[in-house]
Symmetry: C2
Subunit: 229 residues, 2 copies
DNA sequence: TAGTGGTCTAGACCACTAT
DNA sequence: TAGTGGTCTAGACCACTAG
């Protein structure tokens, strides 16, 4: 009670009220809410302003307030498993290597730890619908993901989400190269065939969660992105 | 005059006032603005709310309002010229072709026009610091950029900005391929050398502005991205 | 004409920060 | 203690939409 501000009460009331409603559904009018909660109109507007800012509601002058159309695609920093699921494909992975290694200088800097700090190095061959798609080498800071190396998850990003470390943004660098011998063998392409190299540094807020390098077959995969801004 | 709302007047006054100020600089207090403009405090708050929402200002209860720290990298749908500038390189372009073509079905659908609508097809060899970097083929809807084909700009994205069509979001697909004969010749690499293909559909709000395919030399260029979400 | 959101007023009390 | 932003009141007039 003492802690609940009126505009927050109203905001959450309206949020619950319209949750699950189809876009275009009428929301309560400002004056309705004034009557219902016995507050000033500015207070109601403050509550609705927040929901409009979040994209939950839409105002139409002279007509009313309505449930907004769903946001345009959440861009999203997606993991491989999610990316494949979005395309209706089944992602699999064969772990080639999972070990603890002390971090060198470059990785320490990228992961924001002191050189020598224990890292988890995880190397996987990833497949979609049974065919090799990419080779992925991921480095994680061990103390940020305790126990991960002992019980490797099916989907790294799912596991990170459960730890409250879902990547919220990432820096990505993409480049085209020729497949090296080992890459070629594992990806089942000729040596020198074009491959797409994807380096990522994924962060959850201020915390660097993952540094990875993924090498995709050029002929069977494309990286799709939705940029904003 | 009759068209200028008070909160807009105040918002733009403050925006100009703090433009170029260092992050952390004190902005006028709400009561200062009340006095200066002779308005109610709610009106001032409405103006400042907008700037806070845009990330221009930051409020600190009990202390004041301040110029916000720069947004974490504007993610940015960047054009080639801007991308190069950010790396401290000089971008140049050699126009290989600029012509009007009727749109086929695929392009018409991507650009949201009726098949046959006149398009501008613009093909450029792009260079950074004098060396060929990529081959870029851009399609634009002629009636959305009248006069562009007659006076080709140095930077497409600059030109679009002046027309109020600065891309605000884009769909991008990246893949690795082997260079075809003509690509190889123009980019000065061997036939079959790995190249990075970047397909983009750039939009300004609801309007599709550009559809392009860019082929980068694999060895001299990487596409960098910052994803959010 | 009745209802809606958009704008605006002229105050008020609170918790917090800095001096 | 003085100043700041955060919250809130109880009204008002406007332009617009719909029946």
């Amino acid at each position: 009670m003492s802690r609940s501000l009126k505009h927050v009460t109203i905001r959450e009331y309206v949020r619950d009220l319209v949750a699950g409603s189809a876009p275009g559904t009428v929301a309560p009018s400002e004056r309705d809410l004034v009557d219902r909660f016995g507050v000033a109109r500015m207070t109601v507007r403050q509550a609705l302003d927040a929901l409009v800012g979040e994209g939950v509601l839409e105002r139409v002058p002279g007509r009313g307030t309505f449930v907004a159309a769903p946001q345009r695609t959440p861009t999203g920093v997606l993991g491989f498993t999610e990316e494949m699921a979005r395309r209706g494909m089944v992602a699999e992975a064969r772990t080639l290597l999972a070990e603890r290694v002390p971090s060198g200088e470059g990785l320490a800097s990228a992961l924001q730890v002191t050189p020598g700090a224990p890292l988890v190095r995880w190397r996987r061959l990833r497949m979609a619908d049974g065919r090799p798609v990419c080779l992925c080498e991921t480095y994680l800071v061990e103390r940020r993901v305790p126990g991960l190396a002992e019980a490797l998850p099916d989907s790294l990003y799912d596991d990170l989400a459960r730890r409250g470390l879902r990547p919220t943004w990432s820096e990505d660098v993409l480049t085209a190269c020729a497949a090296a011998a080992e890459e070629a063998r594992l990806l089942e392409v000729a040596v020198g065939a074009p491959v797409l190299r994807h380096d990522r540094r994924a962060c959850s807020g201020e915390i660097v969660v993952e540094v990875s390098r993924t090498v995709y077959r050029g002929d069977h995969h494309a990286v799709s992105l939705l940029l904003r801004g």
